[in-house]
Symmetry: C2
Subunit: 221 residues, 2 copies
């Protein structure tokens, strides 16, 4: 029996982008289901498949749900292990990849959000912190092509979704990531040359328009 | 050459307790180093070994550091794979164990902290949420002996450190976890029968005294 794979996501989600890219990298055939209203009108399937958090994103494999993007990427890597491994096999290298994924998870989303959702001192602090985070990541990348070395892997997948949000962060925060972290941006362009990434990441203008909408919804001037 | 394993931790840390229990379960010989002052006087070794977060806890294996307790437990499970596996081998079951670990990680610490660090409406909300979290975990435990089934495993290790903090949460918050979640507490007592857990978890009275100190330091009445 062929695998039935469904992903319930929402296009602007950088977390959702990760999982779609992981599926694409493995060549898995999947059905993408866009959840139109992730706040006020959650679909019955979403509520059934993620009863604990009641939110996107959910990967459903042969009827069984897996939640949380980083866990989904690990799951996809383990189930479809014959192609493009994401995590290294060496336990120490694995722990380091998981460490950087965790670092991105804990730091980047909130800080990025604050570049368009705050102003004054809070905005300045967010911009400063965002640059620090990216410099730390740039230092970890070093002269490697990708975070894991020569091949696109786990940490790249975890981070790349944010790349489509950077222009919005910069415009609303009125600062330049490229000036401060050119190596990081070269990495992003390199990732964008991959079919899996180019196909999945939304146009930055579209993300910018979405952030404008969000600001209106939340009454942020 | 024998493995050199050092753990830098701080005794009240429920995160540190996880990693010590994991090492004990695997029968790994390790040196435990107590960081006396994790806020104002961090040791040079700590700063060297965790330059990114500059905080406990750090596991150093043959000179190489691994940070973040959940990643440490996975690392220990992979390196010392011959004894007491923590994570199941089936990818789906692994994803579910990781999901519950993530749930505990995201929810329990902050909510627990709010039972002694807040008052009024905030305290009431924290108590209500804590009971909800524990009921959700109780429902996941169901009639199983441990979260993974018949054997003490990954989710048990992630959760058990909080068990020594429950009496403090209850006393300061003036509510009863046992009344609401008796099955959960039976699980805690069952875990406490294991040498690894009994040896590592501090006495609840000691934790209570520590919280009293914290309240003084932070000026919380």
């Amino acid at each position: 029996m062929a695998d039935e794979v469904i992903l319930m996501s929402y296009w602007p989600s950088m977390f959702g982008m990760r999982t779609v890219i992981a599926l694409e990298e493995k060549g898995v055939k999947y059905e993408y289901r866009e959840e139109e209203d992730v706040i006020n009108n959650k679909s019955p399937l979403l509520l059934k498949m993620n009863p604990i958090h009641k939110k996107i994103l959910v990967l459903i494999h042969n009827g069984k749900p897996v939640s949380e993007s980083i866990i989904q990427i690990q799951y996809i890597d383990e189930v479809w292990s014959d192609k493009n491994p994401f995590l290294p096999t060496d336990p120490y290298q694995r722990s380091q990849a998981l460490f950087w994924a965790d670092f991105i998870e804990k730091k980047l989303f909130l800080c990025g959000r604050n570049t368009w959702a705050t102003k004054g001192e809070e905005l300045e602090a967010a911009k400063k912190e965002l640059i620090e985070i990216l410099k730390t990541l740039q230092s970890e990348l070093g002269d490697k092509l990708y975070f894991g070395g020569d091949t696109f892997g786990f940490v790249d997948i975890v981070l790349i979704g944010f790349y489509s949000w950077f222009p919005a962060y910069q415009k609303f925060g009125n600062f330049s990531i490229e000036t401060e972290c050119s190596k990081r941006m070269t990495w992003g362009k390199r990732c964008m040359q991959r079919d899996s990434v180019a196909k999945v990441l939304p146009d930055s203008e579209k993300v910018f328009g979405y952030v404008l909408q969000l600001k209106k919804v939340y009454g942020i001037e």
